[in-house]
């Protein structure tokens, strides 16, 4: 009650919010693993944005006189089977990785959360239908589902986005639905109903903002897992077409030249592991900072 009284004083409320944010930052960046993760993510985004400036060569320039060369001063990581500079290709690969992460999470997040909101708020047969549909999607092995959708739609980066978006959707829907169901029971939601707030107002000014913390963690983790999933698809040669540099496809084409230049497969893999790990670490840090009670739930 006293806290609510304080909130009526704008200045006091402001102060409280700042300190809350400071506490968040302190917990979040209190561990070096989270700092490391943030650093890797920021670095990758920077590399992706400035790939043309950073890459020493054109990533798609074929040079048949310099095929599969070991690392040298000219080509720091060597060249691939078409004489293309490996370092430049790894740098350009970050563009696909970052864009896949963002787009897929947007598609999966927006659709999944909206469906989860509807299912959790209205319930009834429509809620049941939505949730059973998600159960069905979740019972399919994600790789097989993505493979099937991407192949049926017929390749290309847009199809990969859609396929991954659908495969990543159910977790958002479930999480949102669960959150809404539990938040709905709160007194303030009942109070909002009593004063005659409409569905839209209850949903968007009372339910959604409170449901967001765990979803936020989920989004961070999925940015990494989407990148991992896209790597699997492009490793199998499905989706993004050559000669576009993607880490998954590079690992695949490099595996034939393991004895001459193993870096062709190893370096893109290390890039994937580092970036996905970074998102995991930051996601974990975020979870602990936002709400320690979420530990183990996500």
């Amino acid at each position: 009650m006293s806290e609510a009284d304080l909130e009526t004083w704008p200045e006091q409320g402001q102060n409280k919010r700042v300190s809350e944010f400071q506490r968040f930052l302190r917990v979040m960046f209190g561990r070096w693993l989270v700092i490391f993760g943030t650093f890797v993510i920021v670095l990758t985004v920077f590399v992706a944005l400035f790939a043309p400036q950073l890459a020493p060569y054109n990533p798609n320039k074929v040079n048949l006189r310099e095929m599969i060369e070991p690392p040298s001063a000219k080509h720091l990581l060597g060249t691939d089977e078409m004489g293309r500079d490996l370092l430049s290709r790894v740098i350009y690969g970050s563009r696909i990785a970052v864009s896949v992460g963002i787009v897929v999470v947007c598609i999966a997040g927006v659709i999944g959360m909206s469906l989860g909101l509807i299912a959790g708020y209205f319930g009834g047969w429509i809620g049941t239908m939505i949730m059973r549909f998600m159960d069905a999607l979740m019972s399919l092995p994600p790789l097989v589902l993505m493979l099937a959708i991407a192949v049926m739609l017929g390749g290309g980066i847009a199809k990969v986005y859609v396929a991954l978006g659908i495969a990543f959707m159910p977790t958002y829907c479930r999480l949102m639905c669960g959150e809404i169901l539990s938040i709905k029971e709160n007194d303030y939601v009942m109070a909002a109903n009593v004063i005659g707030a409409g569905h839209i107002r209850v949903m968007f000014s009372h339910l959604v903002p409170n449901a967001f913390p765990p979803l936020f963690v989920m989004i961070t983790l999925d940015l990494g897992f989407a990148i991992l999933a896209e790597a699997s698809l492009s490793f199998l040669g499905i989706g993004i077409n050559p000669p576009t540099a993607t880490w998954g496809a590079m690992i695949n084409s490099g595996q034939q030249y393991l004895l001459t230049n193993p870096l062709l497969s190893i370096v893109p893999g290390v890039a994937i592991v580092l970036l996905v790990l970074a998102f995991n670490l930051v996601g974990d840090g975020l979870r602990d900072a936002l709400d320690p009670r979420l530990r183990g739930k996500i």
Partner: protein, 314 residues
């Protein structure tokens, strides 16, 4: 118990029904005419008409579904246009190999993951915990196909300890079979070990704080008894009920490894079919795998309901 069983079964049937709808619709999201895409550009008009009729695509969509599901119930998933064989029998031939590999990986990784998670939780904050947590975080981030390739490079090509690829039936040459098995099983298991270890750790930490664990401790039971008899059993419930999810995840890794290591399983069939746009195999694969996982989930849930009455009432 009976009502729980009934409820879960109806739920599963409903979900399987939606899985069939999803698989059915897969053929309909193909842009353009799926029949032309299936047969390729060289098909004659008569062939196209014939296949269209065989697949029932000249019927209204509801009727198409009924027609298709009727065939599926009779074991007819259509014919692969590359192998010119029944999709069902193609799958069935390769199924034992995949089942063999997946079950070894699943059992192994679950056991190792649980042990790791328990150690991590019990020694919370110690060196072992830090190491296991770091492994758990990294393990999830490693693509299993990359691990497979690095493994092939180190143990197959450089050290020459393991065969690079291939599959031998364990009933033929057991020693060779085991040697060929190590790499694929290792590569598919690592991410799963990480997932299970994370889950076990957090679930175990939560259980240790429960009142009944404190009671058990304060009445003077040995720590070992408290941990393994009182805490672990309850901590494992969320871990084991997630087995369906981890299985679905494991199958994905397994399928790619099959293509890398040239193992004649369902995974290699499905991946090759996807690359060659052999749509009916992909559709059949989605349907069969989805249904199988639904049923496994049901079995796991019911078994757990039998063991733990609380689950029945959730």
């Amino acid at each position: 118990m009976l009502s729980f069983l009934l409820r879960r079964t109806i739920h599963t049937i409903f979900v399987v029904f939606i899985v069939t709808i999803i698989s059915f619709l897969l053929l309909h999201i193909i842009p353009g005419d799926p029949v032309v895409r299936i047969l390729g550009a060289h098909a004659t008009a008569a062939q196209i008409e014939q296949l269209r009729h065989e697949l029932g695509l000249d019927q209204p969509i509801l009727w198409q579904y009924i027609h298709w599901i009727w065939n599926v119930f009779h074991g007819d998933f259509g014919k692969s246009f590359i192998y010119h064989e029944d999709v069902g029998s193609l799958m069935l031939e390769r199924f034992p190999v995949t089942l063999y590999l997946v079950s070894i990986s699943l059992i192994l990784s679950t056991i190792i993951g649980i042990i790791g998670g328990v150690i991590s939780a019990v020694k919370r904050g110690g060196v072992a915990d830090s190491l296991i947590s770091l492994f758990a975080n990294t393990g999830i981030a490693i693509p299993s196909f990359w691990l497979g390739i690095v493994g092939i490079y180190i143990f197959g090509l450089k050290l020459g300890w393991l065969p690079v690829q291939g599959y031998t039936s364990p009933f033929g040459d057991l020693w060779m079979s085991l040697k060929q098995l190590i790499m694929p099983v290792f590569a598919t298991s690592v991410p799963n070990v990480a997932i299970v270890a994370r889950q076990t750790r957090s679930s175990m930490l939560e259980t240790i704080q429960q009142d009944y664990v404190r009671t058990a401790k304060s009445k003077g039971l040995k720590q070992r008894v408290v941990l393994y008899k009182h805490a672990l059993r309850n901590a494992l419930i969320p871990v084991v009920t997630l087995v369906g999810l981890t299985l679905a995840f494991l199958i994905g890794g397994e399928f790619i490894i099959e293509t890398i290591c040239n193992i004649p399983g369902v995974g290699r069939l499905l991946v090759r079919a996807a690359m060659n746009k052999d749509y009916l195999i992909v559709q059949g694969g989605v349907l069969i795998l989805g249904t199988a996982i639904c049923i496994i989930n049901l079995v796991v849930d019911v078994t757990y309901g039998l063991i733990d009455p609380r689950i029945r009432y959730k």
